[in-house]
Symmetry: C2
Subunit: 497 residues, 2 copies
């Protein structure tokens, strides 16, 4: 195979993948935003399965490897983008090929069965229902570590699926630092006796719907190259660079839920919209990692959306839309959106305690993989760790070990990306502040300098660089979680001192 | 190739085609009902093109023919469905293969260029703009007749693309009958001096939106296995047997526009929803022809929706929703929805004069194909024929020869299906009336006996039988357009006598 043949073959595969992915994305959007006739689910599932399978079949065909190897052999004669394409396709190909096809198929069937069982287990608070599925899923994951291979710790093999470059050594250090720095803050807050005023009341959905475009404009998410849908569980979806959609869910009794979910999804959407379009032809218009994606959503949601300057422009907007808020001042609003309080449910956790929820999951996943813990003991171990880290013991498995869909969805090694994303975000923010007046921008309601910095240093590069290299280029140093610990420490000490 | 191999190969192709078609359908729905970011059009077009191309590439691969020939050779050992599948796939394969691929590609590019030019020509009333495109398109169609082959008349080859079994011999007879029977009716109406009262006023869109579900329920279109969208140009779209969607467009000043467009699309949707699900695996859950599809929409729209019994249940509903209508009675409403009046625009034509518009197009297409007429002379020829058939001369090409998208869309031979559909519908209705009290059903607002008859005799069979065989089985005789001529004659003589 010549270089040109190899490049053209991979380009064809990437084009096919883009078409199939766009079709899958838009079919998914159709289903979750518009609802789908109950009786059409089976035909739709079959079609969605075929499209996804076709994408995989094309990728896993032997000529992909032949092209990758052809190009690897002449790496010096390739452009930077071509090299990155070969690196990413080679990695993905070899990982996919490492798993025996019949095992992969069985695992797919197992996961398809497990998800509804998990829902039932959570509804009926019955861990025993899902236990055998978790056991089989973790068994498969243990074999997966073996098939993938690893240098030091089996968990490293799984982490790489979600967070390239992350391993147990790095995460042990990261989470030890967070334990050490967050726990005293949580204790300090508990001891402070402070009870910031909370936002309460009813907030009409039509007014909340009016707030959303204002929030999108604030973040800089271009709704003319996307749109906003309403769903049960908000997400961001990419049909193409110029069609990146977000979703939200409005709750009349909870103003902040949709407000921060919109800012969060706008952060994701901005990353997707700002990737260089030319990267698409190389299959590199993708996030560098789940953690990098999450760093963008959380940077906008927490570091900007929950900042004191933003409270200054949010308060008049809330007064205009909802009336009331006459007896609020900007400081009170700032405190109200930053109430920190240990809780049992990860997705409802505040900025400060969020990573403690992740530590619980990280430690349990690692121990189960190595055999240091057993699936059957998960409910008790989970409760113990919550008591240790958050000072609360779940009253039930439903409010404990059964709260997340990830394991029944076959995702082991995913949780750490959420925490790593927070730390990436803080490190990026620290570097950005050297040249950008972030507070001034947030206070003026014009984030263009922030967005320009992130576009140039993060967004536009897509998957050109792995997270570590991306961080090094953007911030001048390797991953350094102390920026995140410092940020939390300063912010919450000031809030609750 | 063994029989089992051949069947399994075709089943795989059909499954792939269904998945790709569903994806294309839902992407189209997404675009037209929700709107699409302007800048995303190019990526979306590329993906849609890839999906459609992939569907064709899979179908046209040589193993399709090998499987078809394997099964043709042992036709006796096949089930009825397998035989129909082989017949349809063989026909489509050989037609597709008859066209040199580079010619097909050039034609695709030509049509893609022609459509925007046609829009501009119509806007600026400048036939010269589109003339060279029409010339190339008709040139291609002439070569297509040669590639397809034909027995008697070149036009026969093109008609078969839309209306299996229809040919010039049949259509010449059909249209001669319509000329002979409709023209006197049009003259009689003109001479009668009658001016039925017209529905005028403003009809709030939200009330029109409330009318739609009532209309869907009346026809029997199951919205739980579909949904209704709003678009510029209404259509019916099938994602799967259990997800058949219709669309409409509301006009505040024109109550009847959306009302009859909804009934029309419901007729299409009912056909799609009622096809036997088992036919899907054979690629036979398709309409028998464009004409048969149109027969269903027009049967519901005109023969039931514009019937005297329906006026009896429509009037109270209109009173309830819109107020007013106090000084209307059922007869006046029946007359108002059946106003017949020669006009220049096909898609706005009434039931009586509609087919005259088709005759103009049929005669012109036929003459251009044989060389008896030239593209450059179309505007004048068009105007002459309108004057002859409808007594009106278009004041411009925009209101004449430029009104239809079909030719610039590369569709020559399509128009006759609209007229044939009307005649199929009348023949089916005549047969149905032998056992079904159609008027009673329409007057009670319960069409279930009508729907049951059509499901059993038409809908459930999909593409199992060609139109002629379908008609023969359903009505006991071959295509007989005199039922349609009789129906028009009786209806409009009574209305205007």
């Amino acid at each position: 195979m010549t270089k040109d043949q190899a490049l053209s073959l991979l380009a064809g595969k990437i084009e096919a993948g883009r078409a199939l992915d766009m079709a899958s994305a838009l079919m998914y959007w159709d289903a979750v935003t518009l609802g789908v006739p109950e009786q059409s689910l089976s035909a739709r599932g079959a079609a969605a399965g075929w499209l996804e399978g076709e994408s995989f079949r094309r990728f896993i065909a032997p000529d992909t490897l032949e092209a990758v190897e052809t190009l690897e052999a002449l790496s010096d004669g390739l452009s930077e983008r071509e090299r990155a394409m070969v690196r990413e396709m080679g990695r993905a190909y070899r990982k996919a090929k490492a798993v025996p096809p019949e095992e992969m198929q069985q695992f797919g069937a197992l996961v398809a069965q497990a998800e509804p069982v998990w829902e039932k287990a959570r509804e009926t608070d019955d861990f025993a229902l899902i236990q055998p599925y978790y056991e089989k899923i973790f068994d498969f994951k243990r074999r997966l570590c073996y098939w993938y291979g690893y240098q030091k710790h089996p968990y490293d093999a799984l982490l790489d699926d979600y967070e390239k470059g992350a391993d147990v050594e790095m995460l042990d250090g990261f989470f030890a630092l967070l334990r050490e720095r967050i726990s005293p803050l949580v204790k300090m807050i508990g001891a402070s006796g402070q009870k910031p005023r909370e936002i309460a009341g009813t907030f009409p959905l039509d007014k909340q719907r009016e707030l959303t475009p204002w929030l999108c404009a604030f973040v800089g998410y271009d709704t003319a190259r996307g749109k906003v849908g309403e769903v049960q569980h908000p997400f961001c979806l990419t049909a193409s660079r110029h069609d990146v959609r977000i979703t939200t869910k409005y709750h009349a009794g909870d103003l902040l839920s949709s407000l921060y979910s919109v800012i969060h999804e706008c952060g994701h959407a901005l990353y997707e919209q700002n990737m260089d379009e030319e990267l698409e032809g190389y299959g590199l218009a993708e996030c560098a990692s789940m953690g990098v994606h999450e760093s963008q959503s959380r940077l906008y949601e927490n570091m900007i959306g929950r900042s004191r300057p933003f409270a200054g422009i949010l308060l008049p907007k809330l007064r205009e839309l909802f009336g009331g808020f006459a007896d609020w001042d900007e400081d009170a609003l700032y405190r109200a959106v930053n109430i920190a309080r240990p809780s049992l449910i990860r997705i409802e956790a505040d900025e400060l305690t969020y990573c403690l929820h992740i530590i619980v999951r990280y430690e349990l996943e690692k121990d189960i993989l190595t055999g240091a813990a057993q699936v059957k003991d998960l409910p008790g171990l989970w409760a113990d760790k919550y008591e240790e880290l958050l000072g609360l013991r779940p009253p039930s498995a439903a409010k404990g070990v059964l709260q997340d869909v990830h394991w029944s969805g076959g995702m082991v090694g995913y949780f750490p990306s959420y925490a790593v994303g927070n730390a990436y975000g803080a490190q990026l923010m620290h570097a950005m502040r050297k040249t950008v007046d972030v507070d001034g921008a947030a206070g003026r309601g014009d984030l263009s300098p922030v967005n320009a910095w992130l576009r140039e240093n993060v967004h536009r590069h897509g998957a050109m660089n792995e997270p570590e290299e991306l961080l090094r280029r953007a911030t001048g140093e390797a991953f350094n979680p102390s920026y995140y610990a410092d940020y939390l420490s300063e912010k919450f000490t000031a809030l609750y001192r």
